[in-house]
Symmetry: C2
Subunit: 235 residues, 2 copies
DNA sequence: ACGAGTATAATTGTATACAATATACGCGAT
DNA sequence: ATCGCGTATATTGTATACAATTATACTCGT
């Protein structure tokens, strides 16, 4: 019997392809490669000291993650996120994070619950100290815990994708204002609803948490960041 | 200025990689390659008359579509769908198809509306005649139209992914009983809600449409098909 | 007969060579 | 000057060669 169902990271750190994939994803999300920039196989291969083969395979993965777009016989381009895309993602996430919280209410383990409480405690601490990087990291972590707790591989995977997709935008806004405190307070309420076993409440709070996050983004600078595309998202 | 944002199929039909990708996807969904079966690069390359290179790249894409799982240095295996996966997908789809219908209510074009009405009309016809294949195809088509009509690339893409993912299961059950008629009737109600501009009703109906589809699957044979994994999905 | 260890084969991972395609440039005609 | 066209160049697509890893089979000792 083979062990096909063992848990392997699809982006393994040990193959060249995996390393290239991770590096490029990091560089795109961090903004090293800007929107619509063309990624050339040889250039990236030389920069990382590998041949085109693993680079090309990494490209295929990046494309399906939505980070680049490959045009046959032409090239690979970093995908742009329009303001409308961001709005759509938050609408979708609002529903799915709600579902996730609802499911987590019944499925969460004691360890995960503790991790969640610790996360909120730590976030409070760093909020007081004004450690913006840690706050952003803990915010991501909270959602990761929630995704894991819902006990649905598919939902977890889907939410992670969307979450990652908006990281570029989210980090900038979370670090520039007082949303951190409010966000953590909402995390606390979600956590307490889950702890109390109130699935409906947890769902509703998670729904609203996303709506608030989005509203905040719109208020604080989404327009500047993606100004030229804002017309699309006017709706 | 480059035309990076033009619409190209990510699975282009003209490159070898694209053709391999489509062929393998088709073969997996149709059941030619069974669950947990190992796909070997050389074997598939020879069968299709191509080298390993395009096959390997197609594999990367298939993995991110969730159809196969690549274990580093070992091989590529067709992923199994557990009963729990199916349940999760329908939960997710219930929410997202609802969102899709809601958005479509405001965004649908006259052409799409007509296409939808025609779809339902045709489905009625084939239902009378008992043309099971056409019924299944029209069912898929209805959802495709709806996805397009919501005017959200991301939501459309997400829903298409899930839809495709359960095709293996869905076809079997839709073709074996009287769900076809009920399904088309629900399509009609959704369509009329959209036509009447009642977004909330359209959303609610689409939600329920998915729940009904799932319930029907459970009643009619999901257990047989994925019997050995049903315990996971007990919930 | 059984298991450890090792050689052998099969398979994937990576690099390179070659082919096809798209882009850029230059040259000439108008 | 501008447009058309052909050649040169760059870039991606594919095939093949080689390296590394994993699976298999066999030998040998007990």
């Amino acid at each position: 019997m083979t062990n096909y169902d063992k848990k392997y990271d699809s982006d393994d750190k040990y193959s060249l392809r995996g390393r290239v994939f991770q590096k490029l994803r990091e560089d795109i999300l961090s903004g090293k490669y800007k929107e619509h920039e063309e990624l050339k196989e040889v250039a990236i291969g030389e920069e990382l000291g590998v041949s085109r083969t693993p680079v090309r395979e990494a490209f295929r993965q990046l494309e399906l993650e939505g980070l680049i777009k490959i045009v046959p016989n032409k090239g690979a381009y970093v995908t742009g996120i329009t303001a409308k895309d961001v709005k759509d993602i938050y609408m979708i996430r609002s529903l799915l994070e709600g579902l996730c919280a609802r499911l987590a209410t019944e499925k969460i383990t004691k360890e995960q619950m503790e991790e969640m409480e610790e996360n909120i405690y730590l976030a409070d601490f760093h909020e007081e100290k004004g450690h913006l990087d840690q706050i952003a990291e803990l915010d991501n972590k909270f959602h990761d815990i929630l995704y894991e707790a819902c006990d649905s591989k598919l939902l977890e995977h889907t939410l992670r994708d969307f979450h990652r997709y908006v990281l570029r935008v989210r980090q900038k806004t979370l670090a520039t204002n007082t949303r951190g405190r409010a966000s953590n307070e909402e995390h606390r309420q979600i956590m307490e609803a889950i702890k109390a076993g109130d699935a409906s409440l947890a769902e509703k709070l998670a729904n609203q948490h996303m709506i608030n996050a989005y509203d905040n983004m719109v208020k604080n600078g989404l327009k500047e960041i993606y100004g030229e595309n804002m017309t699309d998202g006017k709706n």
